[in-house]
């Protein structure tokens, strides 16, 4: 790895809070006045990319797809230490599901030049799917590993990875290039430095429209999406039971009696 690693980190700009307000009468999401930030899960991906670069040299490119305002998320990534910011922005990319999003991002990655590793966050806080990373891997024809919580040695075109599965911890050896999604326990993302912020302010964000990607617009964005959202609603209100007050003894006794009634004890 004489020339270091070509690292791409995929990030998304999301609303700062998931406590989205929702008008039951009109069925409309209220988005006005909600600040936009880097998806918190993606900060772990940026940090993982920066640490790889610190160890092996190379370049960290942050990539995002979104409206022009998503530029800010890329500047924030540069403020943390990313070398470049790339924004895929075009009206034909809009309204994409995970298939169309992953296809667009994969085309961008190809346009950006050779890569060794693409790092994604586990999922986003708005869509909550975690599908974009593995779907990108399929589009790019490279392997992928999800839930990585430790990146080991990169040697002779291979990388050691550890990940948490439901029933244990797995250590894998994967060839480069590949895509990984990282979990929240992989690292502690650094804060932007003052110098980083200044660099971010001046940085040129490279824009990519479909002109550059050259894809039939029918295959992208809403039109290229296979899924359709037909309804959104707030979850049904919870049904409660009995609320009891009293001294600790009475409370413990009431719980104890309930456990007996329910034949737990």
């Amino acid at each position: 790895m004489g020339t270091g690693l070509n690292i791409v980190v995929c990030i998304k700009q999301v609303p700062e809070t998931t406590e989205v307000e929702f008008d039951e009468a009109t069925g409309r999401l209220k988005r006005e006045g909600v600040a936009a930030v880097i998806n918190p899960f993606d900060e772990f991906a940026i940090e993982a990319g920066l640490r790889l670069k610190e160890k092996y040299g190379g370049v960290v490119r942050a990539l995002s797809m979104g409206p022009p305002m998503a530029e800010q998320a890329l500047r924030d990534a540069i403020a943390m230490g990313a070398d470049e910011g790339w924004l895929a922005t075009d009206r034909v990319f809009g309204g994409a599901d995970t298939w169309a999003t992953s296809l667009t991002l994969a085309l961008c990655v190809e346009k950006m030049g050779p890569f060794d590793i693409v790092i994604c966050g586990l999922k986003t806080t708005d869509g909550d799917t975690g599908q974009t990373g593995p779907e990108m891997a399929e589009h790019l024809g490279v392997p992928h590993v999800c839930y990585v919580n430790e990146i080991g040695e990169v040697k002779e075109g291979k990388v050691r990875l550890r990940r948490n599965l439901d029933d244990g911890v797995e250590t894998l050896e994967a060839p480069l290039p590949l895509i990984i999604t990282v979990s929240k326990d992989i690292n502690q993302p650094r804060l932007a430095t003052l110098r980083g912020r200044l660099a971010a302010k001046k940085a040129e964000i490279k824009k990519m429209t479909n002109q550059e990607l050259g894809k039939d617009p029918k295959e992208l964005g809403l039109e290229g999406s296979f899924t359709r959202v037909v309804k959104i609603f707030t979850p049904p209100p919870p049904v409660g039971g009995e609320v009891i007050e009293g001294n600790p003894d009475e409370l413990a006794e009431a719980i104890f009696q309930r456990l007996r009634e329910e034949k737990v004890i």
């Binding site: 809009g94 869509g127 999800c146 009293g246 413990a252 309930r258």
Partner: protein, 398 residues
């Protein structure tokens, strides 16, 4: 939008604005006396329904050859030849969907020496089980599993393909869907069939469980979904139930396998919170990491597992695998005891289907009290030790 836009505003638009509040995605604005559909549009057709002058037209792609895709296919995840219980939940829901469509229910199982397991899938409702039994499929790897499952779908053409939203399923599902060029809905908590269109309606939480979305896959097949574990009802076994078991050859040469497993360390505690009948969880109200000693004490006398809310995991008081909620595990025990947990929407998403919920919380206004069968308003440090004593005393009398 371009003229290829899936939603067209005709010249008869009066700019009345009826469509603006009707749009769930806030995608419509009125510009120069005419509705303009923005990028946030998801072609849900709510605007067309709301338009009093019929000026909004939804242009849907032609549906082609979809009728040749029939049947509901379920992926039976297994570890060391033991079928993951999520597969039985998928069979339970799959049977219901298949019956509604008057189509068959299939299961597919991959692994080494898994053939003897196929009958169990038949007993739980599968009409036919496809078995890919080969040493090369012994442990899960995305590459070979994707090759085999995508191949199976192309050959068998199921209209619906369900995968458990386990760590394996969430990695494998997107890979298979992308290979098949079809839609995939993540982490569904509700599935049913639209009576008119016969399409699979896939309901899932988004925005941390603050909203629910219903999603369809109208023009590609199979309609794929990963399904949250511990939400659907398990299919009960019916001994002696008849079904077809089809052994499929595995062509190792045609299978890619780029990633190798170097080592696997099984998780230390054997009682996982998802499988436990009783879960005792601690939250921010514990105040400190040591508070989990008390939680372990109560779980211990009840023979249950220890759960935790996200803030306690974020604080480092307890490991992630104890986390209950949207970003942790979903549990559905017979009894869930929440100690010092306020019960955010995210937490509720992971436990609200428990049979009995008991909360111990200082704040009677806490959301957890509204969903509990019994909510005791008090200090957990005073109530829980007394409760442990009572249970111990009771046990010693038996």
């Amino acid at each position: 939008m371009s003229e290829k836009a899936p939603v067209i505003v005709k010249d008869s638009c009066t700019g009345c604005g009826s469509c603006v509040p009707a749009c769930p995605f806030g995608a419509i604005t009125i510009e120069a006396g005419r509705a303009v559909i923005g990028d946030a549009c998801r072609v849900c057709s709510a605007c067309a329904d709301a338009c009093p002058s019929g000026a909004i037209k939804i242009v849907k792609a032609e549906v082609s050859d979809l009728s040749s895709w029939r049947g509901v296919l379920v992926f039976a995840e297994q570890h060391g030849s033991i079928i993951h219980p999520v597969a039985y939940e998928l069979l339970g829901k799959g049977r219901e969907l298949a019956d509604r469509l008057s189509e068959p229910l299939y299961a597919v199982i991959l692994g080494k020496d898994v053939k003897p397991k196929a009958q169990e899938l038949v007993a739980r409702g599968a009409d036919r089980v496809y078995v890919y039994d080969d040493p090369s499929l012994e442990s899960f790897r995305d590459d070979p599993y994707t090759d085999v499952l995508a191949g199976a779908c192309r050959e068998k053409r199921p209209s619906i393909f369900l995968i458990g939203a386990t760590s394996i399923g969430r990695s494998l599902g997107p890979r298979v869907a992308a290979r098949l060029k079809t839609g995939l809905t993540a982490d569904c908590t509700g599935l049913d069939i639209d009576p008119e269109t016969k399409l699979l309606r896939q309901t899932r939480p988004a925005y941390g469980g603050n909203i629910m979305a219903t999603i369809i896959t109208p023009n590609s097949r199979p309609q794929m979904a990963t399904v949250r574990y511990k939400v659907m009802n398990e299919a009960k076994p019916e001994p002696g139930r008849k079904g077809e078991i089809v052994e499929k050859p595995v062509n190792r040469k045609a299978i890619t396998d780029r990633i190798s497993i170097v080592n696997f360390e099984p998780a230390k505690d054997q009682v996982s919170i998802t499988d436990a009948d009783i879960v005792v969880s601690g939250g921010k109200g514990l105040g400190e990491a040591k508070g989990f000693e008390l939680i372990r004490g109560l779980a211990g006398v009840l023979g249950g597992a220890v759960g935790a809310s996200r803030p306690t995991v974020d604080e480092g008081w307890i490991e992630y695998r104890h986390q209950v909620g949207l970003s942790g595990r979903t549990v559905r025990p017979k009894l869930y005891i929440a100690c010092g947990i306020s019960g955010s929407v995210q937490h509720q998403a992971g436990m609200r289907t428990s049979d009995i919920i008991i909360a111990i919380n200082k704040d009677k206004e806490a959301p957890i009290c509204r969903i509990s069968s019994l909510a005791a308003v008090g200090d957990l440090y005073e109530v829980v030790p007394r409760l442990i004593e009572k249970i111990k005393e009771h046990k010693s009398r038996d």
